[in-house]
């Protein structure tokens, strides 16, 4: 890396060729995955959009995409940057001190450490800042007690990003601190949480006198909410990004086998996500295959679905164009896109029901499409809840985009005096 020039001002073509040349020298499919990832990090290509002092090259997102494209062309495996690890890295980069960056970033990129997110609690869902997990300073440690929920991948995580309350007399957003917690300790118990569709993609995490060294607090005491907001913003951006399970998994070679195994674990919680979104792709083919397409009423509902789905694509393309044009117009794309996703999923579920008729009663291997339709019908209810309920999106749109007055507040003053759920 030291010998190379600063590419952050280079053209896309130069970047592309540089990456290809580097891959030509370094990429081999018979390497162990861990070895390759270390070479990748040392070569500066693991996360080129990170700062130069943190394994990166200070590339723009567009430049980083050029790098990605070169990797795809060669079929080279990239850094282990998916899911919660990505959010942890993003947050540590923005808010961590030097020691924290040194300790945590590299193992994220190499895949040595798996991470999870410990934000939501049973008593605070939409109202995330109402959390009651307690972090009590005790010498060089914090002692953590409380319960977290909706923790994807927590059952195989090494570390977690955690928010907990350190001050009960401060207003609710100001008494929260942000921690990096070691999941491999006695005070941390992870239990899988089963959903109505039969999957168990999430966990509950019980924290009982779990310890976090003071050196693993991110930022100052009371900064937790501000830092968590930056994690959440990164999460929202990831929400709309493709979770594409790499086509690399089908390729031959030692490294691909290891990669496929890694991805199988990482992606396991998300196998039902396409069904949650309604599987619009199946609607027309199924209607044609079953003959339901001859029913004029089904035709109307199917057309409504396709209208919604296409319009959502157009709206996304239009929002992207506006962003590219650097317009300052408020484009409420995020929340509207999320509401639209709910509309689409619901309408898709309706169409799949009509098309299936009584077969919609059946699931598993007895159900239409080997259970895929049943999984749609039983997963769609989650789309309007996960990642901020439809109701929260409508609050955001009406208040932040349309400028309508905010809801009256009943949660000001010291947190300990605010009404909350019994725990």
């Amino acid at each position: 890396m030291a010998e190379e020039q600063d590419l952050s001002t280079a053209t896309d073509e130069v970047i592309h060729e540089t990456v290809l040349a580097w891959l030509k020298d370094n990429w081999r499919t018979d390497r162990p995955l861990a070895e390759w990832r270390n070479i990748l990090v040392d070569g500066g290509w693991a996360a080129p959009d990170w700062p130069t002092e943190c394994y990166g090259r200070g590339f723009s997102l567009a430049q980083a995409q050029v790098v990605q494209r070169a990797f795809r062309e060669v079929g080279a495996v990239g850094a282990a940057l998916g899911g919660p690890g990505n959010l942890a890295a993003h947050t540590i980069l923005a808010h961590g001190n030097e020691a924290q960056k040194r300790r945590y970033l590299r193992p994220i990129l190499t895949g040595e450490h798996a991470w999870c997110q410990l934000f939501s609690e049973p008593g605070s869902g939409s109202d995330l800042a109402g959390l009651t997990t307690r972090a009590k300073r005790d010498g060089d440690n914090y002692i953590i007690n409380g319960q977290k929920v909706w923790n994807t991948s927590a059952h195989h995580a090494d570390f977690g990003i955690l928010i907990a309350r350190t001050d009960w007399d401060a207003p609710k957003h100001q008494g929260i601190s942000y921690f990096l917690i070691n999941m491999r300790q006695p005070g941390v118990e992870v239990r899988p949480l089963r959903q109505m569709n039969g999957h168990a993609s999430f966990n509950e995490v019980f924290l009982t006198d779990a310890l976090v060294p003071v050196t693993d607090r991110l930022g100052n005491e009371g900064d937790g909410w501000r830092i968590a907001s930056s994690t959440l913003s990164a999460e929202r951006q990831a929400f709309s990004r493709d979770r594409g399970i790499g086509t690399l998994r089908e390729r031959e070679g030692t490294i691909y086998a290891e990669y496929a195994a890694e991805q199988a674990i990482a992606q396991e919680p998300y196998t039902w996500y396409p069904q949650r979104a309604g599987r619009v792709d199946l609607a027309l083919p199924r209607a044609m295959a079953t003959g339901a397409i001859r029913d004029p009423v089904v035709r109307q509902e199917l057309a409504r679905l396709l209208c919604l789905a296409h319009a959502a694509e157009y709206a996304a393309a239009s929002a992207a164009a506006t962003r590219r044009a650097g317009s300052n117009t408020i484009v409420p794309a995020g929340s509207i896109a999320k509401l639209t996703a709910s509309l689409i999923a619901r309408q898709a579920s309706h169409v799949h029901t009509l098309v299936s008729g009584p077969e919609a009663m059946l699931g598993g291997s007895d159900g239409p499409m080997d259970g895929v339709i049943a999984e749609i019908l039983l997963s769609v209810p989650a789309i309007s809840i996960a990642g901020g309920t439809d109701e929260i999106q409508k609050n955001i749109i009406s208040e932040r985009v349309l400028g309508l007055p905010k809801e009256p507040r009943f949660d000001t003053g010291p947190f300990r005096d605010i009404p909350r759920n019994a725990s």
Binding site: G125, V297, T353, P419, R420
Partner: protein, 366 residues
Amino acid sequence: MDMGFTADQHQFRETVARFLQDKSPPTTVRKLMATEAGYDTAVWRQLTGELGLAGTHLPEDYGGFGFGPVELGIICEEMGRHLYCGPHFASAVMAGYAVLLGATEANRTQLLPDIASGGTIATLVLDNVGDATRVGESITARDDARLTGQARIVLDAHVANLLIVAAATAEGLALFTVAPDAPGVAITPLQGIDSTRKLNTVVFDDTPADRISRTPLDIADLWDHLSVALAHEMMGGAQRLFDTTLDYLKMRVQFGRTIGSFQALKHRCADLLTELELAKAATYAAARYLTTGDGERYSPHMAKAMAGDAYMAMARQAIQLRGGIGFTWEEDTHLWFKRAKSSEVFLGTPDWHRERIMQQLEATHG
């Protein structure tokens, strides 16, 4: 048309409700739905014995209590509310009504008392449970004595000791009895999305059968009776979801206030109540139509169409208004959601029923 319930009917509902509250709490439902049989035989014996619920709607001449669709509706409503797991709908409602409305006098006399007493668990085998006009397209009878064909979805056939089968004959649709262990009968359990109601595929291959009805069977009339009973069951479930959701909204705190204080949710509850009350009114009216002939001839279709939409809307909101917890397995809402989704398509989707309304209107005004 008097739409109220009598004091006796209210009291009857109380009795049924108390029994089911005791015998069919969610913990029991969860236990039973994980079993193969899917029901508790002791509870079934009490329910049919002491309470006589399998014979409530059957005439006294056939061992029943001589009540009708209104009282059966009360039973089904309470069973839907408590998600009772057992063969009542298959045996008492589906097979019971089929024999009552379709069988000859001699066969009624022979078959109904055991169905009414619960001693026989029967089920009705229809080769189409989505479109009444297509029943008989698969199962056909040869020489009025041997059945061949498949019924894709049959309730509780795995525990039935008597199959009532609708099959096509040269003279039209007719009803037959078949013993579940007769030659050429294959009963295969299915995975339903709603595991509180067990489904099976039933296949006949030159299976010996006895015809018990004249032909043609009035399938529309039978379907009307089944739809109205199912609509009641659905309304019981929808009411349960509404009640528990309302409780949740009054209890759950976010942002320092109960979430039931948010106007958007309050108004949604008002909308849900309105839709529920309308669907219930249509359902009760349909039971009265079946009893007295007063009201719209197509009221059974209105009942099932409105119940289907209202139950699904309620089930969807019951989850949505609970947020993430509503989507978990350990919360009970999904049990009713699955029954709602299943019932939406069983015995005809709302769209199918609406189309039938129009056909009947045209027949009247045409």
